[in-house]
């Protein structure tokens, strides 16, 4: 719980962290370059596809799965159990950590090797296992780098994207004695060498899940490095951990999502590895784990599920396209958010996991440009959900009630009063015309500063006469036509 408290205070420091990132040319350059590359790759990967139709298909698959979520989860549990995979349910991240600890303790396991799993980041699993005296080593290269640096992932697909080759070389040198090099292949080979031994020694492998197929009881895992396959096949026990929303009905559903996921995420038509796990090692088989577990984590998801609009958040397949295309994320990077999931998806997901009080600056940290919603492979209306959360954070709607934990805490008396004043003037057209005409007449008194706006910009100047005034004169025929000087004559 103290952990949760630290995490919480971290999230609240959004502004100072964002400013620090903006002032860091290395961070700015690393993210800009990486995001430009990812946007290009995605564009090229979809070039020959009817992307909009495919996105509609993806949205439908996820919507259908969510509509049938309770049934699909039951079906999945039944099928997996029949196949010999043990299913565990966890209400919270802490509960999920305990389930995993219990499995490890029962096997007397001391060494865990991990494939990439954002849910395990959400649970802060590594930290927990360490406290229990169990070593947990990340085997995804990016996660491995982040773990060595004692950091958290800055991107959900590319955890170490905030570092360039030079920084990674320095880190590997310092932590593992690898010779300094700018040769990416050399650095990768060196990390691979170190990890290979760890795979052989591990008692348990822990992985995430991209899609859990209810019909067949298949756990699908998308990866590029082969570490996912090693994690799920080399150690004698495999524990998969995932959110309850990751279930889909059929293998066809998974195929549609896979086509969207890899192209949206890294611009690949298919990843190097696509693992489909359906049972532990059978008596006649030579390899694979003797025991396979699936831990299904709720951690706030079922409360999102209760709301017809917020429900769309759970469609997410964790491709990261929203952050790759986000002009805010591109400039401040993932760590500024202070949350497990950064970027647009983080802004709509984390308020549910941590409460709107802790994430108070996240929903507003968007220009609502819509780039995220435009590229989302499952059509999550992210900008609309941001507006919804803004409304909830100030309890701004008497017709539609607030539901998210911590709602209303951002409402400030002076801001509420300012909007009331704004409303008062704008529902009184006569007063509005009078006031704006007066403003236009007294325009020379217009202040040249306007708060944060004029910190970086000049203030727009009030026109000598409002459009209302000019058109009223025209309509009443005082001039009969638009004066010549407004006809666009050159100055």
């Amino acid at each position: 719980m103290t952990e949760a408290a630290t995490h919480l205070s971290d999230v609240r420091q959004f502004h100072p962290r964002a400013h620090a990132a903006l002032d860091n040319p290395q961070i700015r350059a690393n993210f800009r370059k990486a995001m430009d590359g990812l946007m290009d790759k995605r564009r090229n990967a979809f070039a020959e596809w009817d992307l909009e139709t495919l996105r509609t298909l993806g949205a439908n698959v996820r919507q259908q799965a969510l509509a049938n979520l309770p049934d699909l989860l039951e079906q999945l549990e039944k099928k997996l159990t029949t196949n010999g995979i043990q299913v565990h349910w966890a209400r919270s991240g802490d509960e999920a950590c305990e389930v995993i600890r219990d499995i490890c303790v029962a096997r007397n396991a001391k060494r865990v090797i991990k494939g990439k799993s954002m849910v395990s980041e959400e649970m802060e699993l590594n930290h927990y296992l360490e406290e229990q005296g169990i070593e947990a080593l990340e085997s995804d290269l990016g996660e491995y780098i982040v773990q060595l640096a004692e950091e958290t992932p800055s991107h959900i697909i590319m955890p170490a994207i905030h570092k360039n080759t030079g920084e990674i070389s320095d880190l590997l040198h310092e932590k593992t004695g690898t010779d300094r090099s700018h040769d990416v292949n050399y650095l990768t080979a060196s990390a691979r060498q170190q990890l290979r031994e760890k795979f052989m020694q591990a008692d348990v492998g822990i992985s995430g899940v991209n899609f859990a197929v209810a019909e067949t009881g298949t756990l699908c895992l998308v990866e590029n490095e082969g570490n996912g396959r090693m994690t799920t096949t080399v150690p004698p026990c495999h524990i998969a951990v995932t959110g309850i929303e990751k279930v889909v009905g059929t293998l066809d559903d998974a195929a549609a999502l896979l086509a969207l996921l890899t192209r949206s995420a890294t611009g690949q038509h298919i990843t190097t590895y696509f693992n489909m796990i359906s049972r532990p090692r059978q008596p006649e088989e030579f390899d694979g784990p003797e025991a396979v577990h699936l831990v299904l984590v709720d951690n706030g998801r079922s409360s999102i599920y209760q709301d017809d609009q917020l429900l769309d958040t759970l469609r997410c397949i964790r491709c990261g396209a929203c952050m790759n295309h986000c002009p805010v994320y591109t400039r401040i990077g993932g760590h500024a958010y202070g949350t497990t999931y950064p970027g647009p998806i983080g802004k709509i997901l984390m308020p549910h996991l941590l409460g709107l009080d802790a994430t108070r600056d996240l929903p507003s940290a968007s220009s609502l440009c819509g780039a995220c919603g435009e590229v989302c492979p499952v059509r999550i209306p992210i900008p609309d959900l941001l507006v919804r959360l803004r409304r909830e954070s100030v309890d701004g709607d008497r017709v539609h009630e607030s539901r998210v934990r911590g709602h209303g805490l951002k409402r400030s008396t002076w801001e509420a009063l300012a909007w009331k004043g704004w409303q008062w003037l704008h529902v009184r057209p006569t007063l509005y015309r009078l006031g704006t005409a007066m403003g236009a007449r007294l325009r020379r008194l217009q202040p040249t500063t306007a708060g944060a706006w004029t910190r970086y910009r000049t203030s727009p100047r009030l026109a000598p006469r409002t459009l209302h005034q000019q058109l009223r004169e025209r309509q009443t025929g005082s001039t009969g036509a638009i004066p010549a000087r407004q006809r666009g004559a050159s100055q």
């Binding site: 507003s364 909007w419 407004q486």
Partner: protein
Amino acid sequence: MTDAIRLYPAKPPKVYFYGTCLIDLFYPDAGLAGIQLLEREGIEVVYPQDQTCCGQPAYTSGYHDEARAVAAAQLDLFPGDWPIVVPSGSCGGMMRKHYPDLFADTPQAEAATEVAGRVWELTDFLLNVCHIKLQDLGEPTTVALHTSCSARREMGIAEVGPALLSQLQNVTLVTQQRAEECCGFGGTFAVRHPEISAAMVDDKVQAMEDAGAPAFVTTDCGCLMNIAGYAEKAARPLTGEHIVSFLWKRVSLQPGNGGSAR
């Protein structure tokens, strides 16, 4: 987003003009230019004098009760069955896309949806409903175009600006790098997160200058006051104006009368 295909109506004899509060106070010339372009197409333009603001600033700030009260005051301004033309993708997007959500579960839901269905962005209306033909009378000039995010993504009219500008034979339209990226305005975002917003607009100004544009035109006054205001404060040479002000100048000038994009 712009998932549904929208059918353009036949050119009507009459339209309502919703000027927007920014144009009313700061850029009335853009409003006049838009009205004159419509009139030139033989359309009678009605400007309801009781219009104030579409309600968007409060809406995107989360103050939906206040937004709804102000938006409700606009719903009664368009009693006839004529299209409502708005010289802004952003205000147009608010009325067209968000009014139905804002008024959901309220007595005005039906009226809001009906009004939303008649809203058109001005340049889209000129190109695709009026089938406007522009004859360029200005001197050769070069501009960049910034299509606002709401015009691009909510109203789905990214092709309209280039199509209109391409009719002007003396205007060279340059394409800046990352043209589809936000300029950093975002309404109250610019004051709630001024440093992030400034980083975005700085890149936008740089991209336009790198493309060789001395000036830019845009569909939205929010972006205009952000980009031009940033350039002015930073003493950068880039200037900007609303695209309809620019179009009107180009077609209404006497030949040889100068065609500065300032």
